[in-house]
Symmetry: C2
Subunit: 139 residues, 2 copies
DNA sequence: CTCTGTGCAAAGCGTTTGCAAACGA
DNA sequence: TCGTTTGCAAACGCTTTGCACAGAG
């Protein structure tokens, strides 16, 4: 909590209880969408407004404290910004997990070939997670 | 055009002039968002409805004829589904281009490490395109 | 001829905004 | 205390829906 407070202040954001709990929740879940976050927050702050969640998500996203994860056909989810990683999305159960991969090779290749200065490489793998593979043999 | 007609019929969609021109426009631009597509279509069909554009985008996306390209902080764009490729996005001018890269290595690695059966690998490189690099030396 | 697609208007939702009161620094 | 944040309600903008007519197969 003291920790979260410092993180927020570092980004010029006041450490309100709502924000601290938002970060806790995002950290706990890894990735979360607005509605799930709102539901989770209501358990702690019964009168919290959805507008507050939006405002905070926006202020934290604007300065890079949070990262938007947009995936075709799904709701946008948010995560704490952290070291470069990729996403694994299960098309069956919707689980989204992180995986650390080495992007240097593809990034350098793409940069050379295109002439772009590449600042960021986003990678998402879509497929079936081990659990869903077991649950349903017929894919 | 005869070509587009066949493509549509293959997907159980009737080949209306609006749809044929939508595909033409998407093919021409490579990637396009709803509003730009609507504007382009209005030149040909002055009375076309935005609802028609949405309905067609949805029916073509549902069956995989079109692909949704969702990128953090930007409007969703659509493209014709084609062979596996990656995207290059210029953060300055917003240009979105295709680049063909070999995703096998990262995909196999991620699959082994996670146990996922991976069906699709989405890659987006964000950076500065060559043109914007020239236009502005100070980044 | 039948069923799908189109255009229009209205409805639906997710997101943002304005404001007064509450709160953090 | 001062500037920021909160909660509420209203506004906004994008997307979808219902319906009658038009058009493709």
């Amino acid at each position: 909590m003291q920790n979260y407070k410092e993180m927020l202040n570092k980004y010029n954001l006041k450490a309100t209880p709502q924000r601290i709990y938002m970060i806790k929740e995002i950290e706990k879940k890894g990735h979360i969408d607005i509605d799930d976050l709102y539901e989770a927050l209501k358990n702690i702050f019964p009168y919290i407004s959805l507008a507050t969640v939006y405002k905070n998500i926006n202020s934290m996203t604007k300065n890079g404290f949070l990262i938007e994860v947009k995936i075709p056909k799904l709701k946008t989810r948010y995560e704490l910004s952290k070291n470069s990683h990729a996403h694994l999305l299960c098309k069956k159960c919707g689980e989204l997990t992180d995986i650390f991969i080495d992007k240097k090779w593809i990034t350098n290749n793409a940069s050379e070939e295109s002439g772009y200065i590449i600042e960021n490489t986003l990678v998402t793998f879509e497929g079936i997670c081990p659990k869903c593979q077991k649950d349903n043999k017929f894919l």
